[in-house]
C-alpha cells in the first residue's frame, strides 16, 4: 500500500512536470495526466482493498517530523480511502471524457485539474484545521481556474460569482479557525475534539465553531446560499460539473463531517435543519426547470442536503451513519457524474432534447440506472440507505423529519421520471448522439459501478442488518438476465420468460400457504398465459422483457417476502418494472409519470408504515404486524392501507389508472390490469390478516375502508359508463372491481375475504381477457374509440366471444363465475355488522351493466363502417390466450371449489365462523346455498332446447345485411349516422353525471400546479447577480445564527 502522501505528491509533481514540457506536445501532457490520475486512483484503491480484504488498520501520516498537534497529520482510514477513490476515479474518468478539450487547453488545464483533485483529496485526508483551509482555498482557486478554462462564455460570470462567495466563505472560515485555535489551543481536529469537553461550553469557542461550520456548510451549497453553484453547474463543461457534483461535494461533506466531530451533538440539529431545507427547496425549484444541467445542479444540491441531514442525525444513526451516508453519497456521486457525462453527449440543453439518446439502448439503460440510483430504488445503494434511514428515524419518532424527507424525495422522483419520460417519448432531435468512445466509456463505467455498488451494499446490508442481497434473489436475477439477452429475437425471450415463470412456480408451489398460492398462481402461471400474447410482437422488442420480468419478479418476491424489507423491496421492484412497461405505450408518457408518482407516494407510505411498525428493529417479519404497540398500530394500519390502496386505485388515488392502463400496449394492459392490481390486494390481505380491525380516535378503520371501497366501486363504474375509449372504459371498470374486492376485505369476515379472493381470480381472468380482446380490436381497427367501430362481430367472432363471456362474468349473471362472487358477497354482508355502505355497492352493481353493454354493443354490434369492412380477426397469439381465458372462466364457474376450497379452510385460521360447506357440487353458507353445476346444467338445458326449437321453426330465415332494417320506410344514410354509440348514456349523464365530476383530478392537478408555480416563483430568488448571491450568503449566515444559536 502506497503512502497517501503520493496523492499530493504525484499531482504536484505531474503538474510541475507539465510546466516543463513543450507546450506543443499536448498529447504527451495528456498521457502524463492520465497516468498520474490513474496512479492517484491506484493509491486509495490499494488502501480500500487493504481495509476491506486484508483487515488493514487506519494509518496516520505525520509530516514535518513532529507529532500532532505540533505538525500536520493526514489519516488514511476506510472512509478516507473510499472517498479519495471516489474523487480520483471521477477525476480520471472526467479527464478521459475531457480528452479533446484538455488537449486543446494544453498543459495548464491539465495541471489545474490535477491540483483540484489533489486539493479534494487533501480535504478528505487532513486532520488539521488550517491545512483544511489551505486545501479548501486550493480547491476554490483550481475550481475557479477550471471554470475559467471552460468553453461556455457564461461560465466566466459563474466562476466570478463563485469567487465572490468563496471570498466571503474563506473570511469566515479563517476567522473561525483562528478563534477556535485561540479557544482550544490547537489546530488538530482530533485534539480539538477531545479538548472540546472543557472548552465546549465556552461561548467564544461556540462562535468560532459556528463561523467554521457555516463556512464549510456553505461549500455544500445550502439553500439559499447556493445560486453561484447552480450557475456553475449550468455553464461549466459537463465533465467539470461532474467533478464538482461528485468529487467536490464528497470532499466538502467529509470536511463537514470532521468538523461536526469537533462540534459534537449540539450542532447536529443545525446540520439537519440546513440539510432538510436545502433538500426541499432544491427539489421544489428543480420542478419547473427546463435546462438539463441546471436541473442536475438542483438535484445535486438536494442530494447533498439529504446527506447533510443524515450527518445531522448521527446521534440516532450512530454506527449506521456511514452505511447510510455513503449509500446516498455513492448513489449521488455515481449517478450525477454519469448524468453530467451523458449531458455532454446530448446536443440541446432542453430536457426534451434528451430524446436523442433513444437510439442508443445502452445509454438509455445508463440513464434509467442513474435515475433509479438518485431516487433510491432497489437494487442500488441508495435503496438500502433509504430503508435504514427511515427505519431509524421512525423508530426514534422523528416523524416530521421523515415526512419532509419523503415529500422531498417524491418531488425529486417527479422531475427525474418526467425527464426520463421525455427521453423515451418525445420527438428525437435530428442529430443523433454520436459519443466518442472516450466519452461513452466513463458513462458505462459509472453504470457498472452503480450496479456493483448495489451488490456491495446488498452484501453490507446482509452483514449488518441481516437482509437478503436483492441482487442475489433468483427472480430478480432472472429478470435482470434479460438485460443481457436483449439482443435475442422477441419470441426466444418470450419462450424463456414463460418457461422461467412456469418452472419457478413448479419449483416453489409447495412453499405457499393456500392464500399465497392463489396469488402465486395468478402472478406466475397467469403471467405466463398473458405472455402468450407477446408472441405476437415481432423483432427484438428492446426493453420489454427486462421491464416485464422485473415486474413479475417483484410480484413473486412480494408473495415470498417474509419480512418488511423484502416486502418493500419487492414492492418497489414491481412498481419500477410496471412503470417501464406502461411507459412503452405510444401516448403513455404523462400517464406513466402519474403512475410512478402515485406508486412511489404509496410506496413511501408503506415504507413509513413498516418503519413505524418496526419501532427501530432491524428485522421485522410481516407477521409481527399483529404485535405492533397499540399506540402506533392504527397509524401503521392507515399508512400501509393507504399505500396499498394507491395500487388498487381507490377513489381519490385513482387518477393514474385509466391513462396508464389504457395507453399501455396491447399485451401490457392485461398484465398491469389483470395481474399487477392484485399486488395491492395482496398487500391489503397481508395487512388485514396481521392487523385486523384497528380504531383511530374511536373510528374503526376497516369501516372507513368499507366506505372508501363502496364509493370506489360506484364511482369507478359510473366513470366507466361515460368513456368513449374502450380501454379507458375497461380501466375505470378495474377501479370499480377493485372497489368490490376491497369491500370484501374490509367486511372483515370469512366470506368477505373469500369474496375478495373470488374477485381477485375473476378479475384476473376476465379483465385480462377483455383487455386482450379490446386490444386486438384496437390493433386491427386502428382506434380505441368505440363509436368509430361497430358491427365487428362477424369479422372478429373470437374476440366477440371473449368479450361476451367476459361481460356476462363481470355482470355477475349466472351461470358464469361472476355470480359466485355476487353470491358470496350477499352472504358476506349478511354476516357483517354494517349495513349502510352496502347501499352504495348495490347501486354500483347494475351500473356495471351500462358500461359492459356499451362495450360490446359499440364495438361488435350495430353498424359496420366502410373502412372496417375488411378487418381481420385478432392475430392468433392475441386470440389464443383469450380462448384459454374463456376456458378458465367456464372451469372456474363450474368448479369454484378447485380454487377456493382450500382457501376457505385456511381462512378459518382468521375467522373460524361463517365459512362455507362444500358438499359435492353444492356450496352452502349459513344463509343460503348454491350449486354451480346444477345452475349450469339447468340453464344449458333450457337454452339448448329453446335454441333447437327456434332453429326448427325459423329454419328458413333469410340472412340479411346491415342496412336491411326498418327505418320508418326510409333507408339508413350511412353506417356512421346509423350506429348509435357516441354519448351512449346521455340521459344517464343528465341524471347522475354530477357524481363523476373530476374532483380528484382537479385536486391533484391543482396540487402539482401549486408546487410548480411555487417553485417557479421562488427560484426567481436566484437573479443571477453575484452581489445578490453574496447577500444570500450573508442572509443565510444571519438566519442560521438567529435560528440555530
Amino acid at each position: 500500500m502506497l503512502s497517501p502522501l503520493y496523492l499530493v505528491a504525484a499531482a504536484l509533481a505531474a503538474s510541475f512536470t507539465l510546466g516543463l514540457l513543450n507546450p506543443k506536445r499536448s498529447g504527451a501532457a495528456y498521457a502524463i495526466t492520465l497516468v498520474t490520475l490513474a496512479f492517484m486512483a491506484w493509491v486509495p484503491a490499494g488502501w480500500l482493498w487493504g481495509f476491506m480484504a486484508e483487515g488493514a488498520q487506519p494509518v496516520e501520516i505525520y509530516t514535518a517530523g513532529a507529532l500532532p498537534p505540533y505538525a500536520i497529520n493526514l489519516r488514511m482510514g476506510l472512509a478516507e480511502a473510499a472517498m479519495t477513490l471516489l474523487i480520483t476515479l471521477t477525476g480520471l474518468l472526467s479527464a478521459l471524457y475531457l480528452k479533446e478539450s484538455l488537449i486543446k487547453l494544453g498543459h495548464r488545464g491539465m495541471a489545474v485539474l490535477m491540483v483540484a483533485l489533489m486539493a479534494f483529496c487533501g480535504i478528505v485526508l487532513t486532520r488539521d484545521l488550517f491545512n483544511l483551509f489551505v486545501f479548501f482555498e486550493l480547491a476554490a482557486i483550481s475550481t475557479a481556474g477550471l471554470i475559467l478554462l471552460s468553453e461556455d462564455e457564461r461560465a466566466l460570470s459563474a466562476g466570478f460569482k463563485y469567487l465572490i462567495v468563496s471570498q466571503l466563505v474563506s473570511t469566515f472560515l479563517l476567522i473561525g479557525i483562528l478563534f477556535a485555535y485561540h479557544a482550544s489551543g490547537t489546530l488538530n481536529l482530533d485534539t480539538m475534539a477531545s479538548a472540546r469537553l472543557p472548552h465546549g461550553s465556552a461561548p467564544s469557542f461556540a462562535l468560532a465553531f459556528f463561523l467554521m461550520f457555516i463556512a464549510l456548510v456553505t461549500e455544500l451549497k445550502p439553500f439559499p446560499a447556493n445560486g453561484w453553484a447552480l450557475d456553475i453547474y449550468e455553464s461549466a463543461h459537463p465533465a467539470y460539473s461532474a467533478l464538482f457534483s461528485a468529487a467536490a461535494a464528497t470532499a466538502s461533506l467529509y470536511a463537514v463531517d470532521k468538523l461536526l466531530l469537533v462540534g459534537g451533538p449540539g450542532w447536529y440539529p443545525m446540520a439537519t435543519g440546513i440539510g432538510i431545507t436545502t433538500f426541499l427547496a432544491a427539489n421544489l425549484f428543480a420542478l419547473p426547470q427546463g435546462n438539463d444541467r441546471r436541473l442536475l445542479g438542483y438535484s445535486s444540491l438536494a442530494q447533498i442536503g439529504l446527506i447533510l441531514v443524515v450527518l445531522g442525525q448521527r446521534d440516532l444513526l450512530g454506527e449506521g451513519t456511514p452505511f447510510i451516508a455513503f449509500g446516498l453519497l455513492v448513489s449521488h456521486a455515481v449517478a450525477k457524474a454519469g448524468l453530467y457525462w451523458l449531458s455532454g453527449l446530448v446536443g440541446g440543453r432542453s430536457l426534451t432534447d434528451w430524446a436523442a439518446l433513444r437510439g442508443r439502448p445502452l445509454l438509455v439503460f445508463a440513464f434509467i440506472s442513474f435515475v433509479a440510483m438518485l431516487t433510491s430504488l432497489p437494487p442500488f445503494p441508495g435503496f438500502y440507505a433509504k430503508w435504514e434511514l427511515v427505519r431509524v428515524l421512525a423508530g426514534e419518532g422523528r416523524l416530521a423529519l421523515l415526512a419532509l424527507i419523503l415529500i422531498g424525495a417524491l418531488v425529486e422522483a417527479g422531475y427525474l421520471f418526467r425527464w426520463f419520460g421525455y427521453m423515451l417519448k418525445r420527438e428525437a432531435p435530428a442529430e443523433a448522439v454520436n459519443g466518442e468512445p472516450h466519452q461513452v466509456v466513463p458513462v458505462y463505467v459509472a453504470v457498472l459501478a452503480g450496479w456493483v455498488l448495489g451488490y456491495f451494499w446488498g452484501e453490507l446490508s446482509g452483514v449488518g442488518l441481516g437482509h437478503h442481497n436483492l441482487l442475489l434473489s433468483l427472480p430478480l436475477a432472472f429478470a435482470l438476465g434479460f438485460l443481457l439477452l436483449d439482443w435475442l429475437p422477441a419470441w426466444v425471450k418470450n419462450t424463456l420468460a414463460i418457461t422461467g415463470m412456469v418452472a419457478f412456480f413448479f419449483l416453489t408451489y409447495a412453499e405457499y400457504d393456500p392464500l399465497r398460492l392463489i396469488f402465486a398462481l395468478i402472478f406466475l402461471i397467469g403471467g405466463a398465459i398473458t405472455l402468450l400474447a407477446s408472441y405476437d410482437a415481432h423483432g427484438r422488442r428492446i426493453g420489454f422483457y427486462p421491464a416485464a420480468m422485473l415486474m413479475y419478479a417483484g410480484m413473486v418476491m412480494l408473495v415470498r417476502a417474509n419480512d418488511s424489507f423484502e416486502f418493500f423491496a419487492a414492492w418497489e421492484l414491481l412498481t419500477l418494472g410496471s412503470y417501464f412497461l406502461i411507459l412503452r405505450g405510444k401516448h403513455s408518457e404523462p400517464h406513466a409519470l402519474s403512475y410512478i408518482l402515485f406508486s412511489l407516494g404509496g410506496a413511501f407510505l408503506i415504507l413509513a408504515g413498516f418503519a413505524l411498525a418496526a419501532g427501530g428493529a432491524a428485522q421485522f417479519p410481516i407477521t409481527a404486524l399483529g404485535q405492533v404497540a397499540p399506540a402506533v398500530a392504527p397509524w401503521v394500519f392507515l399508512l400501509l392501507a393507504t399505500g396499498f390502496m394507491t395500487k388498487t386505485a381507490a377513489i381519490g388515488l385513482h387518477i393514474w389508472l385509466p391513462g396508464a392502463h389504457a395507453e399501455a400496449e396491447t399485451d401490457v394492459s392485461p398484465m398491469v390490469s389483470g395481474i399487477l392490481l392484485k399486488a395491492g390486494l395482496f398487500g391489503l390481505f397481508v395487512l388485514l390478516m396481521a392487523m385486523g380491525k384497528q380504531r383511530l380516535y374511536g373510528v374503526e378503520l376497516t369501516h372507513v375502508l368499507l366506505w372508501v371501497a363502496a364509493f370506489t366501486a360506484l364511482l369507478g363504474n359510473l366513470m366507466a359508463v361515460f368513456q368513449e375509449d374502450a380501454k379507458r372504459l375497461l380501466a375505470y371498470s378495474s377501479i370499480g372491481q377493485m372497489g368490490y374486492a376491497l369491500f370484501g376485505l374490509a367486511l372483515m369476515n370469512h366470506l368477505g375475504w373469500l369474496m375478495a379472493l373470488m374477485f381477485v381470480i375473476n378479475h384476473y381472468i376476465y379483465k385480462s381477457m377483455l383487455f386482450l380482446s379490446v386490444g386486438g380490436v384496437a390493433k386491427r381497427t386502428g382506434t380505441r374509440e368505440m363509436y368509430r367501430m361497430g358491427g365487428l362481430i362477424r369479422l372478429m367472432p373470437l374476440s366477440f366471444i371473449a368479450v361476451l363471456i367476459g361481460i356476462i362474468a363481470i355482470s355477475g349473471v349466472p351461470p358464469l363465475s361472476g355470480f359466485g362472487g355476487r353470491w358470496i358477497f350477499y352472504n358476506a354482508i349478511l354476516a357483517s355488522d354494517y349495513r349502510l355502505p352496502m347501499v352504495i355497492l348495490f347501486l354500483a352493481g347494475p351500473v356495471a351493466f351500462l358500461y359492459l353493454f356499451r362495450l360490446i354493443h359499440s364495438i361488435f354490434l350495430g353498424q359496420l363502417k366502410d373502412e372496417l369492412r375488411r378487418v381481420k380477426e385478432a392475430p392468433f397469439w392475441i386470440a389464443l390466450p383469450q380462448m384459454l381465458y374463456v376456458g378458465l372462466l367456464l372451469a372456474f364457474a363450474l368448479a369454484p371449489g378447485l380454487a377456493l376450497r382450500r382457501v376457505d379452510t385456511y381462512l378459518n385460521l382468521f375467522f373460524p365462523e361463517g365459512g362455507l360447506h362444500w358438499e359435492g357440487f353444492e356450496i352452502t353458507s349459513d344463509y343460503g346455498y348454491w350449486n354451480p353445476v346444477a345452475i349450469m346444467i339447468v340453464v344449458a338445458v333450457i337454452f339448448v332446447s329453446l335454441f333447437a326449437w327456434l332453429l326448427f321453426v325459423n329454419r328458413r330465415a333469410q340472412k340479411v345485411k346491415q342496412f336491411n332494417i326498418v327505418f320508418s320506410a326510409e333507408r339508413p344514410f350511412r353506417p356512421e349516422t346509423t350506429h348509435f354509440a357516441w354519448n351512449f348514456f346521455a340521459p344517464y349523464r343528465k341524471a347522475l353525471g354530477f357524481l363523476v365530476q373530476p374532483y380528484a383530478t382537479t385536486f391533484w392537478g391543482a396540487l402539482t400546479d401549486f408546487l410548480h408555480t411555487a417553485g417557479d416563483l421562488a427560484r426567481r430568488l436566484y437573479d443571477g447577480n453575484g452581489q445578490s448571491y453574496a447577500l444570500h450568503f450573508l442572509a443565510f449566515v444571519v438566519i442560521v445564527f438567529g435560528v440555530g444559536v
Partner: protein, 301 residues
C-alpha cells in the same frame, strides 16, 4: 349426487300452468286497462291467437348469430327465473329446480334475459334498439336498487337467503307477512316493482311513439313469438319472487293466482293513471322516493 328425474316433468308442469296463466292474465290486465279507457279491449284468448300467428308466419330474417340468440336468452331468462324459485309453498311437485340456488340466484338470473335480449337487439343494427337498451339499462340501475335493499333487509330479517325458508317464516296468518313485519322493505320493493313492469310511468324503454318500441324493433315471427311467451312468463316469475318474499307465498294454486293477480294489479293501477317519465326523471324519482325507503328498511330491520 342424487337427482330426482321426476323433477323435470314437474317443472314442465309448472311451466305449462304458468304460461297459460300468464297468457290469460296479461290479456285480462289489458282488458282492465282498456276498461279504464272505456273500451272493451282484446279478447281474453287474444294472446294465443297472436302467438300462433307469429309462429305461423312463413318468412323471417336474421341479422346474425346474436340477433338469433336474443329471444333464446330472453326466454331462458324467464323460464329459468320461474324454475329457480319454488312456486307453491310446501309442495314438492312445484318446488321446481330451486335446489340449484337460493334467492340470490333468482335475483341475478333476472338479468340473464335482459342482457341477451339487449345484445340481440343491438345486433340488428337498428338505432332505436340501441336507444331503447340505453334507456332501459339506465333506468334499471336505480329501479333495481330499492329491490336489492329490500331483499337485503328481508334476508337480514329472516337470517336466510333460502326462498322456502323465507316463505316458511311468514306462515301462520296474514300478520306474519313481510308486508306487515317489514313494511318499509315491502314499500321499497313495490316501487322497484313498478319500475320493472314496463308500464307507465316507467315505460320509456319501448316508447312506441318516438322510438318505435325500442329494443324489439327488428324482431318478428318466431322470435317475437318466443318473446311473447316470455312476456307471459316473466312478470309472473318475478311476481312469484315478490309474493314469496313479501306476501307470504302461496300454498295452493288458487291462492297463487289471486296473489299474483293482485300484485300485478298494483302496477296496472299506477300505470293507467300516470303519464310517462323520461329516463333521467325516473332515475331521480327512484333515488329520491324509493331509495330512502330501502335505506330505512335495512336500518330498521
Amino acid at each position: 349426487m342424487q337427482f330426482d328425474w321426476m323433477k323435470i316433468p314437474y317443472a314442465l308442469l309448472t311451466l305449462f300452468i304458468v304460461v297459460n296463466f300468464g297468457m290469460i292474465l296479461t290479456a285480462l290486465v289489458a282488458k282492465i286497462a282498456a276498461r279504464v279507457g272505456r273500451r272493451r279491449g282484446i279478447r281474453i284468448w287474444q294472446n294465443y291467437a297472436d302467438l300462433f300467428k307469429n309462429y305461423g308466419l312463413r318468412s323471417s330474417i336474421t341479422h346474425g348469430a346474436m340477433f338469433y340468440l336474443g329471444p333464446v336468452f330472453r326466454l331462458t331468462g324467464g323460464i329459468g327465473l320461474l324454475l329457480f324459485v319454488p312456486t307453491i309453498y310446501g309442495s314438492y311437485v312445484f318446488s321446481n329446480l330451486s335446489f340449484a340456488g337460493d334467492l340470490i340466484l333468482a335475483l341475478y338470473f333476472i338479468f340473464f334475459g335482459t342482457l341477451g335480449m339487449a345484445l340481440g337487439a343491438a345486433e340488428s343494427g337498428h338505432p332505436h334498439a340501441a336507444i331503447g337498451v340505453s334507456r332501459g339499462l339506465s333506468q334499471v340501475t336505480t329501479a333495481e336498487l330499492p329491490l336489492a335493499l329490500a331483499v337485503f333487509s328481508v334476508a337480514l330479517q329472516y337470517h336466510t337467503l333460502s326462498v322456502t325458508a323465507i316463505v316458511a317464516a311468514q306462515q301462520g296468518g296474514i300478520e306474519h307477512w313481510t308486508l306487515f313485519t317489514n313494511p318499509f322493505a315491502v314499500a321499497a320493493a313495490m316501487l322497484a316493482f313498478l319500475g320493472s313492469m314496463m308500464r307507465p310511468p316507467f315505460d320509456v324503454v319501448s316508447a312506441p311513439q318516438e322510438i318505435p318500441i325500442g329494443p324489439p324493433t327488428e324482431y318478428h315471427s318466431s322470435y317475437l313469438a318466443m318473446m311473447q311467451t316470455n312476456r307471459a312468463i316473466f312478470p309472473i316469475a318475478k311476481i312469484v319472487v315478490y309474493m314469496n318474499l313479501f306476501f307470504g307465498g302461496a300454498a295452493s294454486w288458487p291462492v297463487f293466482c289471486l296473489k299474483v293477480f293482485l300484485i300485478y294489479m298494483v302496477s296496472v293501477f299506477i300505470g293507467v293513471v300516470f303519464p310517462r317519465f323520461r329516463v333521467e326523471q325516473s332515475i331521480r324519482w327512484f333515488l329520491i322516493w324509493a331509495l330512502p325507503l330501502g335505506v330505512l328498511a335495512i336500518v330498521l330491520v
